[in-house]
Symmetry: C2
Subunit: 138 residues, 2 copies
DNA sequence: TATGCTAATGCAACATTGTTGCAAAATAAT
DNA sequence: ATTATTTTGCAACAATGTTGCATTAGCATA
């Protein structure tokens, strides 16, 4: 089940402000991940650049969105599933980034297998980043 | 078998210059991955910042080093194994980044398993980024 | 619904990171 | 040794991200 915008903000003890509503709406409407620049463009001159940075930071801290490591090292964010906001770690997250159109997908139903690491290494998080062509760019 | 500094440069049809020798040496001496800033610090004021950027870019193009996607989206580089310079792709690269000390390791002997992607998605590259505590920070 | 407290925003200034064009210097080829 | 090519350093710029502080907006309370 999916929460609405105001519900999500309140559930996380965040004041309901215009910028937060707008940015959260952008994420909910987007099927892929968003970069800071995407949000800046799509929200026009409505909000200060600093506000966007701080809002994204807050959302990450609250577990509303998460960052995605990408092959080109650009910072991208995507909505977390409901479990995230309840304190779960983002273990074994699988993401797909299209080399053509740049769209980044969360492949929630793809399960990243457990790796056996060398002695002395302890994993708290595993990110799998797949690059290639997505279903729209074949 | 491991090539020397001059050999590696010549093999890749690169002029042997001070900055390239120094930067390649830093990589060969380092057991982990290096960020641009690491190189800038370790080489002092010897080279211009722009030269370092361009050298790293050249090395990536020639397959001498490769970039590593990290959980914190900082750009890091590491030496490629010999196969890389012969045109192989960096499929199934597994990297480990320590949350404490920030050291990034190439785990060459850990094999990333094949994933089955949804219809329409074709992978050309898979990066696995494991975060946690490394053997020195336990 | 008015009031006061707390939290978020906008602005300015700054730091860091990365890019580009071009003249000078170093390297390679002859 | 001389010439041609490549690389470097400098300057200037663009993009990205951070911090402090005054103003504004949201929220709880009466």
């Amino acid at each position: 089940m999916r929460y609405g915008i105001n519900e999500t903000l309140k559930k996380n003890q965040l004041s309901v402000t215009d910028s937060r509503k707008k940015i959260l709406e952008l994420f909910m409407r987007s099927n892929g991940a968003l970069a800071h620049a995407d949000i800046e463009h799509q929200s026009g001159t409505e909000f200060d650049r600093v506000t966007i940075y701080r809002t994204l930071q807050t959302f990450v801290e609250k577990g509303i969105i998460h960052t995605i490591p990408t092959a080109d090292n650009s910072v991208r964010y995507a909505l977390c599933k409901d479990e995230c906001s309840e304190g779960h770690h983002h273990d074994n997250h699988v993401h797909f980034m299209c080399d053509d159109c740049g769209t980044t997908y969360c492949l929630d139903h793809v399960i990243a297998p457990q790796l056996s690491l060398p002695d002395g290494f302890n994993a708290t998080r595993t990110d799998v980043v797949v690059s290639g062509k997505c279903k729209n760019c074949e």
